[in-house]
């Protein structure tokens, strides 16, 4: 007994009347000393609030209410117009902070829920001990997990504690949404930033888990820049074969379909195509998979009836998917408890019985929640039903088309209902007169929502009419996209870290997210093309990665074929799906670690400060639509990465816009000596919308300026900023002078001309003999300037 009390070893034999219970087993891990723990491991809601307030004081939240009322409790509805208070005392600005937090909660929960679901399913299939091994070129396997949680994951099972942490934080943040909680819009935004950080963590966990288990591309042979191209577009799908269409974000069911096709040697006999992120991730697992389209074409693709079976999992699936599938006689298999569409759960039923019910249309669809049961049912159903569906005529006949376009009375109801404000009536009128081109052109501009058909006075199936007009082009849509490569390699960061921080690679541009574009998919391609040709590094994910793949140059090449896939100047890189966005954060974090030697473990604030001050990166969510996009952007923002969004994104209500005219907002500290330095506004905003792509291109370039730019780097960035303004706006930007610190910041080729403009237009003093600027800039150029927002990082006191 004494030995037990002293905690020493003891013999069990000889013990009587003893009950031994074993609690949680805590393993001694040799790697706990891989790096000293930083100041903020597993931060709570208030832990990084000071950092948030630094951001919020510079980029003050801007609100554009979509609705002037609050309807969340039974005191309401409350009219908050003019920033009034509701019955609970909340003002309109705080109410909007609350709505922003709500949107970020939904988005973060989607990624965290998806990740936890993946972990659960893949532990069941592969076990907890699947190693995290991304090959010889990736040592820092999980930058966000290390940064936020202070954990270095070795196996997928290690992510259980990551999700435990994230889920607890999410619930606490959701608690703050209740009536009678936060009253400060700044604190709501701080909570939203915290939620955004959790979103980025959850995405990283989700993607790492699926990469590890499915051996998706990493830095093992065949990965990285050498990932193969995959076919994109309706024109790449062979309608003479059985077609399985997968839609959503959670890859295990689609992976099981791929496995079944491989095992039964059906890879060349059955088409497996997808929409949205499931399709991107399926191509990382099953080499014969194709991408039918991004989200904007979901409705149209299903309505063509090309799919013999539709398999859905979660997120971004149309809520009327069952109705759509029934209309075209495509059996529906639902595989996720987040979206069950009122169907019967047939998990664990005999596959023969399920297949028979689907093929004979005794049921329109089934739920199968075990991903390992989906493959057999989906493939056998598709093969058997294909013959029956062959003769379905689902595209309008010429006679039907003519009748419909003539029936249109151009009442304008459809345009009023259309999010893209398409002038459908006018296009119908021209089609009735024999010119189909305007109607066909609407296909790409249309975001595929179907609201128009519900309000048409003549019950015209407008979606089908537009699809019919565009059908020849649709069947010619054959693009190519690089497979999602996941993590950027440490060795690549070693090569480009210095050029990025010093500015000679002008920036990292990240076109990501959904397809609610203001003017069709070509904008996505143009953004990529313009910046890749200017030697920026372009990293894409999600729907933008898919849509950019549809367009070709004069030689018939897609943007992925004309540019390399290395993380280097001029590279066009598909990182992967929505959860793969984490690797873009990770690249910025790795720059801080590998190039600058900053410690990562539990050190979020310092790394975010580093990235904000030095890493010229800019996200472009040109068609952002979902709550996930809101939480993704907010997560980027907390890490110090700005984003340009399309005009629809003003409906998110909140932006983070800086004021270049307020000098006090742009004060940094020189960490070398503690002095305060007023700097130029770089980046000027954290989240800002542009009306058109022509306006966005120069804005994206502007948001790559950073205080740490060398003069050579600044001259490269200024070259592109000015050039993009001249090319697309036909004028010099009114604020280019703000980014000039010294004459060597000016592009060499135009230096004399620009010095003259500074003198004549701005009243600056120039020494023409020495070609030097004597007076005018906000500050001079100091190569030793060590910018920071954090006093605690000052190396020596002044």
């Amino acid at each position: 007994m004494d030995a037990i009390n002293r905690g020493e070893l003891f013999k069990i034999g000889g013990l009587e009347n003893v009950r031994i219970s074993i609690g949680e087993i805590v393993e001694e891990r040799a790697e706990q000393d891989w790096e000293p723990m930083g100041p903020h491991p597993m931060p709570g809601i208030a832990t990084l609030r000071d950092w948030d307030f630094k951001l919020l004081n510079r980029y003050k939240p801007f609100y554009a209410p979509l609705c002037d009322m609050c309807c969340l409790c039974t005191y309401g509805k409350c009219d908050l117009t003019g920033n009034k208070k509701g019955a609970c005392g909340i003002r309109m600005d705080a109410q909007h902070g609350r709505i922003v937090l709500l949107a970020c909660l939904v988005g973060c929960s989607a990624h965290c829920g998806h990740g936890r679901h993946l972990l659960h399913d893949l532990i069941k299939k592969f076990g907890r001990d699947v190693p995290i091994d991304f090959g010889p070129e990736v040592d820092i396997e999980a930058p966000l997990t290390r940064l936020i949680c202070g954990i270095k994951p070795r196996t997928i099972g290690d992510f259980e504690q990551v999700f435990d942490y994230a889920e607890e934080q999410i619930v606490q943040l959701a608690d703050a949404l209740a009536t009678g909680q936060e009253g400060s819009y700044l604190d709501y935004e701080s909570k939203a930033l915290h939620m955004g950080m959790l979103d980025s963590l959850s995405k990283e966990a989700a993607d790492i888990i699926q990469i590890a288990c499915y051996r998706m591309p990493t830095s093992h042979p065949g990965g990285g820049p050498d990932v193969p191209l995959v076919e994109v577009g309706m024109g790449t799908i062979d309608p003479n074969k059985p077609v399985i269409l997968v839609i959503g974000h959670n890859v295990p069911p689609a992976a099981d379909i791929g496995d079944y096709l491989t095992e039964h040697k059906l890879e060349d006999k059955v088409e497996l195509a997808g929409i949205c992120c499931t399709s991107i991730d399926t191509t990382r697992v099953y080499k014969k998979a194709k991408i039918a389209a991004a989200l904007g074409r979901q409705l149209r693709v299903i309505r063509t009836g090309i799919a013999d079976v539709v398999v859905v999992d979660e997120q971004c699936i149309r809520a009327d998917i069952l109705e759509l599938c029934q209309r075209v006689h495509s059996p529906l298999i639902v595989t996720n408890d987040k979206a069950m569409h009122g169907l019967v759960n047939r998990t664990d039923d005999e596959p023969d019985a399920i297949v028979a019910d689907l093929v004979n249309e005794r049921v329109p669809g089934v739920i199968i929640l075990d991903p390992e049961q989906v493959g057999e049912v989906a493939v056998r159903t598709a093969v058997q039903i294909e013959e029956k569906r062959k003769n379905l005529a689902l595209i309008l006949t010429d006679e039907e088309f003519t009748r419909y376009v003539h029936a249109c009375i151009n009442c304008g109801n459809c345009t009023l209902a259309c999010p893209a404000k398409l002038t459908i009536g006018e296009a119908n009128r021209l089609a009735a007169a024999g010119d189909l081109k305007p109607l066909a052109e609407l296909f790409d501009l249309c975001v595929g929502c179907g609201r128009c058909e519900q309000v048409c006075k003549k019950q015209i199936p407008i979606i089908d009419v537009i699809t019919k007009a565009a059908y020849p082009q649709l069947m010619e849509e054959r693009g190519k996209m690089r497979i999602g490569r996941g993590p950027i390699w440490d060795s690549e960061i070693r090569e480009v870290g210095a050029p990025i921080v010093l500015g000679t690679i002008p920036g990292v541009i990240a076109p990501i997210g959904c397809g609610n574009y203001p003017a069709g998919t070509k904008d996505a391609w143009l953004i990529v093309k313009e910046f890749a040709e200017r030697n920026y590094i372009v990293t894409l994910t999600g729907c933008m990665a898919i849509d950019a793949a549809l367009w070709k140059d004069e030689e018939g090449k897609t943007i992925y074929e004309t540019h390399h896939g290395r993380f280097d100047g001029g590279g066009v890189i598909n990182i992967g799906s929505c959860v793969s966005n984490a690797h873009i954060h990770d690249a910025a974090i790795k720059i801080a670690s590998i190039f600058a030697g900053r410690k990562l473990r539990g050190n979020y604030e310092e790394i975010a400060d580093y990235i904000l001050s030095r890493v010229g990166a800019c996200g472009v969510a040109w068609g952002a639509m979902s709550q996930k996009a809101a939480s993704i952007a907010t997560g980027f923002n907390r890490l110090g990465i700005p984003a340009v969004v399309g005009p629809h994104s003003v409906k998110y209500r909140r932006a983070f816009i800086g004021r270049a005219d307020l000098k006090e907002d742009w004060k940094l500290i020189d960490a070398s000596n503690g002095s305060e330095v007023y700097v130029e506004p770089g980046p000027q905003h954290l989240l800002v919308a542009c009306e058109t792509v022509e306006e966005a291109l120069p804005m994206i370039a502007k948001l790559c300026f950073r205080p740490s730019d060398t003069d050579r780097g600044r001259s490269v960035k200024l070259t592109h900023y000015i050039d993009l303004n001249l090319k697309y706006l036909h004028t010099y930007p009114p604020d280019w002078h703000l980014f000039v610190r010294t004459a060597s910041d000016l592009p060499v080729a135009k230096r004399p001309e620009l010095l003259k403009k500074l003198e004549e237009e701005r009243g600056w003093k120039i020494d023409w003999k020495l070609k030097r600027i004597l007076e005018g800039p906000i500050r001079g150029y100091d190569p030793s300037f060590n910018p920071t927002n954090l006093k605690r990082l000052i190396r020596e006191k002044k």
Binding site: T81, M92, L416, K421, K651, H685, C690
Partner: protein
């Protein structure tokens, strides 16, 4: 109470929605404004007539903030004297700050006119001004062919067949300005 149909049919923000007025009413308000500002967007480039109207308003002494890529139209037509490119999001952010000194450094604006901006983008910016630029009041109106519930005043939503009528309304706005 909304009796007009917004161009985005579900864009009904709340109890306080803008008035539909005749063009001359807007013209009179512009005449009396201390510091008017015309804010144009890329949609004015769809038809030369719209650009001509904007320039006509500029020649009446109203400064022009050219948002989106609309500045191109002014540059190509050789009219840039009181025209400046602005990002609309940035501009609206400034309009809600009572201490902002305006594009010319001479003070905040009291009357802003939206013209030719993508409907949903304009509506959101008008919402910000309506709700947060209230002390002092910045009146924001629209002369687009759509009903804008977040504008203090706007036109009604015109059908596709009313192109000529709309152009006459714009001409009336210009004609009724006495400055």
């Amino acid at each position: 109470m909304v009796t007009e149909i917004p161009f985005d049919v579900a864009n009904i923000p709340g109890p306080e929605t803008g008035e539909v007025v005749a063009p001359e009413v807007i013209g009179n308000f512009i005449s009396r404004a201390k510091r008017p500002l015309l804010i144009v967007g890329s949609e004015i480039l769809r038809d030369d007539f719209f650009l001509e109207i904007a320039i006509a308003l500029g020649k009446k002494g109203i400064p022009i903030a050219a948002t989106g890529h609309s500045i191109r139209g002014f540059v190509e037509n050789g009219y840039t004297e009181n025209v400046q490119y602005c990002n609309l999001h940035e501009l609206t952010n400034c309009l809600r700050d009572p201490t902002w000194q305006g594009l010319d450094g001479k003070g905040q604006y009291d009357f802003v006119i939206f013209f030719g901006i993508l409907y949903y983008y304009a509506s959101q910016m008008l919402s910000c001004i309506k709700n947060f630029a209230t002390d002092p009041l910045v009146r924001a109106v629209s002369i687009d062919r759509y009903y804008h519930p977040n504008a203090r005043m706007s036109f009604t939503t015109l059908t596709p067949r009313q192109d000529e009528q709309y152009k006459e309304m714009l001409t009336s706005v210009v004609a009724s300005i006495k400055r």
